[in-house]
Amino acid sequence: MDTAFIIETIVKIVVILLIFSALAGIGTYFERKILAFMQRRLGPMYVGPFGLLQVAADGVKLFTKEDIIPTGVVAKIFKIAPVITAATAFMAAAAIPFLPTFTVFGYTVHPIVADINVGVLYVLGVMAIGLYGPLLGGLASANKFALISTARAASVFISYEVITGLSLLAPLMMVGSFSLIDFNNYQVDNGWLLFSQPLAFILFWIAAFAETGRTPFHLVANDHELIDGFGTEYSGMRWGLFFIGEYANMFFISFVMALLFCGGFGDGSVAGALALLGKVAFFFFVFLWVRAAWPDIRPDQLMWLCWKVLMPLAVINIVITGFVMMF
């Protein structure tokens, strides 16, 4: 392992961390603005031009707030839980190619931290570990709302994670690789998986909403039922870490969807790179769009949906794909 590789990797990690921490903040700005426009409001307007510095104001608020560890909490777990959410969200980014390979000053840059051959498994697995944040944070909080939120997180988790896995099985069978770059290259030759595996795409998309805890599956931290769920007792930057983790997850899952089903960056040209970013922006926009339009469902309805409707559909999809590939 040469020094250049280590330096390049460290630089890539730092860049990804910085960009997506900032994007998490800017994502809240877009969320507020788009939700506001859809509700005929203006959204943030006063802090900076068009309210753009609202993000900075929120950051200052989060950083300068007192970090309260309430009495009665299991302090060690309470302190580490938000770190798990944020850290796993960023760890998942290690196997995501954010752009096609490009050359700067004669140096070829691979905008992926580690092109491991189990990329998809790694991304989804590490994202799933992020659930320990809400789980441990809620259990350690000594708060009834947090406890209910934890119970919901567990029940939601065992429901959607099945769909995530099973819906991806059929495309994985077709591509024959776990690497996201192989997925991308497969789609360059054979057309988007969105068209050959539409059912898998829709199932994965639904599961992505549950995975990121967005409306209509915003059950774990449902404001009107559970205050802030597992985050109720958190304040300051610890709450901010949960927050950054959730928004980073939204961006990463958007990248994963664009790469897995929508052609990724295509042949690797500049147009392909821009197309990838456009697709990611679209998926992120849909997260916000759906939040403006649809109500939340109950946890039992989500479990019903996942186990009794989506899982059979995923299994049928796998069987049909298998038969088509066999004959």
Binding site: I34, F37, M38, Q39, R40, R41, L42, M45, W289, V290, A292, A293, W294, V309
Partner: protein, 203 residues
């Protein structure tokens, strides 16, 4: 019916909402789910919010810079009006407003002035107590105390008083013709001239 008296706001084209029967058996429930899944209701919701975003028909009033127009009957901080002809204050010190005030916030003292007319010597309204019910304006026989449109009130203490001179139309404002007749509580209904009958004298 005149426009002023028509209080039926809106289009008046109500219709009963068609609510389906609730599902009774599991099979009914299943049918409902299938119907709702494959009907386009969910996407109608998505389209509605997207349409509103694209129309960009923003209804926000940026309050400190923009203000909504007040209705003519709006009841905010009181004003004391002057007689249009002479510019003297309209208040005759009858004390009806003090009497009718249900939150007991009006306090007045009167005396006989040098012209043997009743004059208000002290008059104050405690805006910490006032509930802006409008009874004082309604009962005033001279249309002297009326409600104005000043609704942005800040005070250092809860018991915030306004004295008569603060409420009275300033003389320069009056001379500039800026004193507006109050159309709200106690004012003459528009078009009431037509409804007045002549006193029959031929009995």
């Amino acid at each position: 019916m005149s426009v002023e008296n028509n209080r039926n706001v809106g289009q008046q084209d109500y219709y009963m909402v068609d609510i389906e029967d609730y599902p009774e058996s599991n099979w009914d429930q299943f049918k409902q789910v299938v119907k709702r899944t494959f009907s386009t209701e969910l996407f109608v919701g998505l389209w509605v919010v997207l349409r509103e975003m694209l129309k960009f028909n923003i209804h926000t009033v940026k309050y400190p810079e923009e203000k909504l127009p007040l209705g003519p009957r709006y009841r905010a901080i009181h004003e004391m009006l002057r007689l249009m002809e002479s510019g003297t204050e309209r208040c005759i010190g009858c004390g009806l407003c003090e009497k009718i005030c249900i939150s007991d916030c009006i306090r007045m003292e009167t005396k006989i002035d040098e012209n043997s007319r009743k004059e208000v010597s002290e008059y104050s309204i405690n805006f910490g107590r006032c509930i802006f019910c409008g009874y004082c304006a309604e009962v005033c026989p001279e249309l002297a105390i009326v409600h104005g449109g000043r609704y942005e009130n800040v005070s250092e203490q809860r018991a915030h008083y306004s004295m008569f001179d603060d409420l009275l139309t300033p003389m320069d404002t009056f001379k500039a013709g800026q004193q507006k007749e109050f159309p709200g509580f106690g004012a003459i209904i528009p078009g009431s001239d037509e409804s007045v009958k002549k006193t029959p004298l031929a009995y």
